[in-house]
Amino acid sequence: MPVITYRDALGAAIREEMQRDDRVFLMGEEVAVYQGAYKVSKGFLQEFGEMRVVDTPITELGFAGVGVGAAMVGLRPVIEFMTWNFALLALDQVVNVAAKMLYMSGGQFKMPIVFRGPNGAALQLSAQHSQAWESWLAHIPGLKVIAPGTPYDAKGLLKSAIRDDNPVCVLEGEMLYNTKGEVPDEEYLIPIGKADLKREGEHCSIITHGKMVLVALQAADQLAKEGINIDVVDLRTVRPMDVEAISTSVKKTNRAVVLEEGWEFCGVGAQVVDHIQRDCFDYLDAPVLRVHQADTPMPYAKSLEKAAKPDLPKAIAAVRKVMYLD
């Protein structure tokens, strides 16, 4: 199977959907002439022209609203945020309008729109540029939230997101764009709302999504050497969450670690724990542990940034702790 980057997988997904349906267009900062701030839309302007690949002024609130308006009357916008940090300015359109339009209008106006862009920290971008927003977005009924961790999942999920008649927030990652993986040439879709068991093991479950999937897999590999076998549950979609997959895994392993990139307080991990303790109460041999970003703004200094981020050693330590190995 061809091996391509996460970046190219995303690009291929959007290109295929734009070729398939001329109601689909891409809009955002630097998506056209500059070929994408992170080059996801390389070559798009040349292929589709400036009506379908639209550079915007730096006005997140404004162009998110433009997407919402276009979606109300039947287009299918893909709105790129240069990063989700800047999307904070646009949340009124995402949360107060896109997420509520179908409901407020009594089912009349669908909102087939995708909001996408890199989420979470890259390297030394410091406090204002290093935040992970999935727990905020997933808090909101009316939104769907996906966080693919591999090129294969990125392409299949993004294509489904573009075909979805609801607003879908796609959380990508600057640190993921260059990662590689197998992606078939044939078209495929991955359903939104289905987790993927990326490793099978009986000793402990790691439940994760997005950028942390790679860390979870590394942890599983390392622990396997010690004879500890991990079930790696990649949620892939944060909302709606595949709770069955979580329960199935935890009822088998009786132990769980929830690994996420963002902050702890009211994070996605807290919601996963809430589900587990309710649905798997009698199966748990130990409290569920969480691994996440330190509860501070992201510092610039390299060493502190490293200390702030969830990583392989922290994930492994949590597994060992939940297994009472140390």
Binding site: P57, G62, G65, M72, V97, D165, N166
Partner: protein, 333 residues
């Protein structure tokens, strides 16, 4: 009333009767809304449009059925003027099954796909980028429709307004932005909220044709909107239009009509220029309207409003399971 302009010759007789009918319908409908609110049949925030009817009717009279309309929470008038049925609007206000939005939106969120009425939005300024997006979609599809976007004068201070107008001006989109300048944003007068008071001038920042007109004179509104609509339809050039009007009621049902922020005297002075009276007088002088006709029109309209009330009252409450419906659409694509 402004001496009739050439462009109004076509608005004589029959057409003026239609305009009058539309304005009177909004007025009578909302008088009953106030009553229903007092009776607890309508809840939540309820912002009446009374006093501004010439803006909605004058504008809609220049639009085609396939054009689009979007406005704020002060939306009963525009909804009726656009042709939404009094029954569906009243049932929505009563929060019933047959409401235009199944009783889920309420007073601030009227929506209707049949008339391309895109709401009914509650966040001040939030709907202006949406209007720009509709203009973008029209251009994207190569259509010749336009979108009329109503907003209160406070909106011109919001960031959303400026981001939206810049894109509409930059991309040349068929949008008509209509500021209903009724002088107050809740309790704050225009002078206390905006660094300039001829706010249509803000269009200059976006290289946008701009204009100001009397919002109580429906012919002045028709004239100004007509020009803007034609420019948008034929040349895809957006316009910023400031319409000077006045709100005869409180900001919402919970706000006193006058007192804290505007003196009774100002209100009384303004009410002398009731847009409905102005049109009526004009028509009577032009002998386009007899007292009998007016009488009869009023009786008919009151009957229509009563019918809407009865319909809404009889419309079923939503079943409990409806709470969980319309959160997500089943995707068919």
């Amino acid at each position: 009333m402004a001496a009739k302009k050439k462009s109004d010759t076509q608005t004589d007789g029959a057409q003026n009767l239609e305009l009058l009918h539309s304005m009177l319908l909004q007025r009578r409908f909302e008088e009953r809304c106030a009553e229903a609110y007092a009776l607890g049949k309508i809840g939540g925030f309820c912002h009446l449009y009374i006093g501004q009817e010439a803006v909605s009717t004058g504008t809609m009279s220049q639009l085609r059925p396939d054009d689009y309309v979007i406005t704020t929470y002060r939306d009963h008038g525009p909804a009726l003027a656009r042709g939404m049925t009094p029954r569906s609007v009243m049932a929505e206000l009563f929060g019933r099954q047959d409401g235009c939005a199944r009783g889920k939106g309420g007073s601030m969120h009227m929506f209707d796909t049949n008339t391309n009425f895109l709401g009914g939005h509650g966040i001040v300024g939030g709907h202006v980028p949406i209007a720009t997006g509709v203009g973008f979609a029209i251009k994207y599809r190569g259509g010749d429709q336009v979108i009329a976007c109503f907003m209160g004068e406070s909106v011109v201070n919001t960031g959303a307004f400026h981001e939206a107008l810049n894109m509409a001006g930059l991309w040349k989109l068929p949008c008509v932005f209509i500021i209903e300048n009724n002088r107050y944003g809740m309790g704050t007068s225009l002078e206390r909220a905006s660094a300039i008071t001829d706010i249509y001038e803000r269009g200059a920042a976006y290289n946008m044709p701009r204009n100001q007109c009397d919002g109580q004179d429906i012919f002045a509104v028709r004239q100004a909107v007509g020009e803007a609509v034609e420019r948008a339809r034929k040349e895809q050039i957006p316009t910023l239009l400031e319409v000077r009007t006045y709100r005869f009621m409180g900001h919402s049902m919970s706000d006193a009509v006058s007192g804290t922020y505007r003196p009774k005297s100002e209100l009384e002075e303004q009410m002398k220029r009731d847009p409905i009276t102005l049109l009526r007088n004009h028509m009577q002088e032009a002998s386009q309207l007899t007292d009998e006709q007016l009488q009869q029109m009023d009786v008919e309209i009151k009957a229509v409003v009563q019918d809407a009330w009865d319909f809404a009252d009889a419309s079923p409450e939503l079943p409990q399971e409806a709470l969980y419906e319309d959160v997500y659409a089943d995707t068919t694509t």
